[in-house]
Point group: C2
Chain length 199, copies 2
């Protein structure tokens, strides 16, 4: 059986990553989502093993020591990390695996896992990103401006990604990612020339 | 306007490249085929400017001197080459350009034109390639064996290509190439981050 593909998806807050990834998983039973571990406390509605595995700082640091993460990072005094075992095993079983992680983790993954495919989801424009954040109505104008600044920093890292998909329309964004996955599997490095010639 | 994509298609004799490329062009008015120049004499049914531009050895060597080729090579004492002007101008006008050329020329193109996308068309198996060559019924068993040997040599170069598409079914092969073209246009190197952030 051929190994699955490791797909890393990032994009600024407000771009609609969650919706896109949700629909992608719904439509493609062959794609599995990696659940991150975090030391952050669960927010209302978040469920253990669905949104995150919630662990203590001690447990997380033990995992770091034991080299159990594909990538991890610390934000606002909380750790977030991708458990290595689940990813490697699921790939080996022929499933594609999606990591929905931020830029810092994504670039870590690429440096250790060269075959990972990095996809950056963009809003149609910065103005539209502002509108989407504004619509959430959960943040002050100041907080929105801070988020836009973070978004600009993330978007500057886009050249380190393989593909960018503009989320103008969720279905189209999902289809674009499906095509990327399909086409990445046609890469010659996944093809075994020697066995083909021996057949 | 965004530049078109340069797509190079190779594959062993008998694999059905011509049929695949013909259908691809028919379905995609945005894709143009580059016509090669050759010093070979036209075969029955071949037309000037459709199959090739037929030129004299002197004209071809003048073109070489004037750096008019994107790639060229000599086979069986005949030159074959891709005129540079047509390709560069057509790409600039936003069309995608297909070169249907053999491996030697393909690798030349990649070395001077890094953004070219190299696609190798494979038969479903070596046995099936033999059957297809046999069906043509224009060649002796010895000639078929010689062709298979050439094919093996070409297939060994497949790792230098970007993608391989198995021509099991013409429509599926055409769709795979269409998806490759679509997905290659989502590559981050084709995206202008600076103007996006300035918008």
């Amino acid at each position: 059986m051929k190994e699955g593909l490791l797909i890393v998806i990032s994009g600024p807050a407000g771009v609609g990553k969650g919706t896109v990834v949700g629909k992608l998983l719904e439509r493609n039973p062959n794609i599995k989502l990696s659940i991150s571990k975090t030391t952050r406390k669960p927010r209302p509605g978040e469920r253990e093993g669905v949104n995150y595995f919630f662990v203590s700082r001690q447990q997380f640091e033990d995992d770091i020591k034991n080299d159990n993460f594909l990538e991890y990072a610390e934000y606002n005094n909380n750790y977030y990390g991708t458990p290595k075992d689940f990813v490697l095993e699921t790939l080996k079983n022929g499933f594609d695996v999606i990591l929905e992680i931020e830029t810092q983790g994504a670039l870590q993954v690429k440096s250790t896992f060269e075959d990972a495919v990095l996809i950056f989801i963009l809003p149609p424009s910065m103005k539209e990103l502002y509108n989407r954040l504004k619509k959430r109505a959960t943040e002050t104008e100041e907080e929105i401006e801070a988020r836009l600044n973070i978004a600009r920093g993330e978007i500057r890292l886009l050249p380190k990604y393989d593909y960018c998909v503009i989320n103008d329309n969720v279905d189209k964004a999902v289809e674009a990612i499906e095509k990327i996955i399909e086409v990445e599997k046609l890469r010659t490095r996944r093809f075994d020339v020697q066995s083909f010639l021996k057949e």
